[in-house]
């Protein structure tokens, strides 16, 4: 009996492993930055280039840093979700305008709405590298201590916001 059952068991184990593998997205690279301090930077603000912003300015607040660009197609899919979130005023949303042209970025915000409290300009993408950005849009949830608690790779959806990001943000805001 075991003669026949053993190969069947092995086969089933392989099926389970392969099936589990199919369900995983290889594009989602786990970020080593989660649980670590958000890399510091000081960048000009898109709307007021003479002003500069650093993550330390947000100390004590739980906030979202959304990496976006006017050339990024999926940012456009994501945009209404961010606009709606910003309208609810539950969490500050800041933008990191990644490898973009200022005038194009401004035109994009004028056209589709501006959900950001402010956007900073990372024209050469150096800060993006520090944050491990490899596919725009990406979103970081940063707590009051300046620690990255969550990273979303790819567009935020209402479901991800409701199920993951906002509950986590709420628990951190306490």
């Amino acid at each position: 009996m075991i003669r026949f059952l053993a190969p069947l068991a092995i086969f089933l184990a392989v099926v389970v492993f392969l099936y589990a593998g199919l369900g995983r997205d290889p594009r989602e690279v786990p970020s080593p930055l989660i649980g670590k301090a958000a890399p510091a930077f000081e960048l000009p603000v898109l709307a007021q280039p003479d002003k500069r912003f650093a993550p330390a300015d947000m100390k004590g607040k739980v906030w979202l840093l959304n990496v976006w660009a006017s050339w990024c197609v999926s940012c456009r899919d994501e945009h209404p979700v961010l606009v709606e979130l910003a309208g609810k005023r539950v969490i500050p949303v800041l933008g990191l305008n990644y490898k973009d042209k200022d005038d194009q970025a401004k035109a994009w915000l004028a056209k589709f709405g501006n959900p950001y409290d402010l956007s900073v300009v990372d024209a050469d993408g150096r800060i993006g590298i520090d944050y491990g950005v490899y596919g725009v849009p990406e979103t970081y949830l940063i707590d009051g201590e300046g620690v990255i608690r969550y990273k979303q790779i790819g567009p935020l959806t209402p479901a991800i916001l409701e199920q993951k990001v906002l509950p986590l943000a709420k628990s951190l805001q306490k």
């Binding site: 690279v29 993408g125 590298i129 520090d130 950005v133 490899y134 596919g135």
Partner: protein, 146 residues
């Protein structure tokens, strides 16, 4: 003419040409060890993605700045995780990855040895002795016609 010759000799003697070459080699071999995050089956060296270009720029700048290979690799791992390495490091979470194939091989060899041994012992079964033969014949009811 003399000045030209002098300049020529200087260029030939200057070690910078050689150093440039070895530096290029170093950059190249580093870029081949690192994965492009955008097109994941290509190394930084092969990829034309914009991010790969930026990261190549980082590698180049850091080599020029005198960083060691390990420092540069650590810089990228800090930001993108072990995933940027084509060769995953050996640690607790990757033990199965590294040891797994050998483990499977060992299990296979063990199973093979076991199966062979069982087969041999089956072949070596002794023929029936006269006592057993008589018993068997009686049970089967196929004795001599006598």
């Amino acid at each position: 003419m003399k000045a030209w010759l002098f300049a020529f000799i200087l260029i030939c003697l200057s070690p910078s040409g050689n150093a440039d070459e070895s530096e290029k080699q170093r950059i190249r071999s580093l870029e081949e060890k690192l994965r492009c995050l955008v097109c994941q089956n290509q190394s930084l060296a092969d990829s034309n993605a914009e991010l790969a270009e930026d990261l190549r720029g980082q590698v180049r700048a850091q080599v020029k700045a005198g960083k060691t290979d390990d420092q540069i690799v650590a810089y990228l791992v800090e930001r993108y995780g072990d995933f940027v390495l084509y060769e995953p490091p050996f640690k607790a979470t990757t033990v199965l990855l590294w040891v797994g194939p050998f483990l499977l091989l060992a299990v296979g060899v063990a199973a093979l040895i076991l199966a062979l041994r069982r087969r041999r012992s089956a072949a070596e079964e002794l023929p029936l002795g006269p006592e057993q033969k008589r018993l068997a014949e009686r049970m089967l009811g196929s004795g001599d016609p006598q």
